[in-house]
Amino acid sequence: MGPQNFTFAADPVPQSYGNIIMKPEGAKPVIFSHWVHRLRYTCRVCHFELQINFKAGTTGITMEDNVEGKYCGACHNGKTAFGIEHCSRCHNGGVGPGKKEFAKKTGGLPPAIHGNGIDWNQAMEENLIKPVDYLITKPDKFQFDRALTLKAAWDYVPSAVFPHKAHNRWLDCNNCHPDIFDIKNRTEKQNRMESYFKGEFCGVCHGKVAFPLKDCGRCHLGMGNWR
């Protein structure tokens, strides 16, 4: 399969990329916007400390958990963010903040072509945003910056890069190791775009919350972008 075979849906509007609509039984749908939250928190906070899964609808969040101070309730307690009693701010039918609010909160951040239209990595590099990376215990300093060049399966494709640094800013090592990337159980599937389009490996995040797979050139340095 070559790149000429890739097909993509049109981009969603930037303010809805990464939005998740949860549909609990017995209550109106809940909105969760990644961009609203990642301006203030790294992925590590929710996806490691608070144990929220990297797949929508699988964590099994209940209101009881929230009231107990787990998941949303770890912050939505009336101190860190609006409290659990403001039912309709979450149960609003699944509508995220609009274009105006998005522009107000993200104006001035470096642009990207796809996704939220924001180069989140650069925004962090330039200290334009300073999301906190823990609620509970300060992690030891990240000590692994190794940038890997992942060997290309096809001669005509420039090899993809994997910079640990750009990821460790946002994630804990154990968000990826060994659940997503285990050097002991490596298979050919791990080198295939096809797997990523199915939401595996790099596609766990890229295409869902991190910049989408259309942005070829950010991984395959030297390749153009799909528009």
């Binding site: 107990e68 309730g73 770890a74 307690n77 990240f142 692994f144 090592c173 060994p178």
Partner: protein
């Protein structure tokens, strides 16, 4: 609509009870559920010690990694007594830390062989 109102009521009562009975939830905004007795506080400290070192795992020696793996194993049994919400969250986090240390240990062994 009636169903939602009833749910609202139930949740408010539930939260009211939780807030009144346990000041943790209205205080720090940190995830609770660890209990506040001295014994429980002790395990949460140990837990935090073990799980905050994953980010440095490749900088740790094999001995240190092995020691963290043993601590994680030892803690596992002590999570059994937690209430459901806390058990769900802490068991999974502990498993992730444990597995990361094993991953780092494997990577180091592999690098040594090169």
């Amino acid at each position: 609509m009636k169903k939602i109102m009833m749910a609202a009521f139930a949740v408010l009562i539930l939260s009211g009870a939780a807030f009144a009975a346990d000041a943790r939830f209205s205080g720090t905004g940190k995830p609770g559920g660890a209990g506040s007795g001295p014994e429980e506080r002790e395990w949460i400290n140990e837990f935090n010690d073990v799980c905050s070192a994953t980010t440095a795992s490749m900088a740790l020696s094999k001995d240190e990694l092995n020691s963290h793996i043993r601590s994680a194993d030892a803690l596992k049994g002590r999570l059994g007594c937690l209430e459901d919400s806390a058990k769900k969250v802490y068991s999974r986090r502990l498993r992730m830390c444990h597995d990361m240390y094993e991953f780092a240990l494997d990577a180091k062994v592999k690098e040594d062989k090169k």
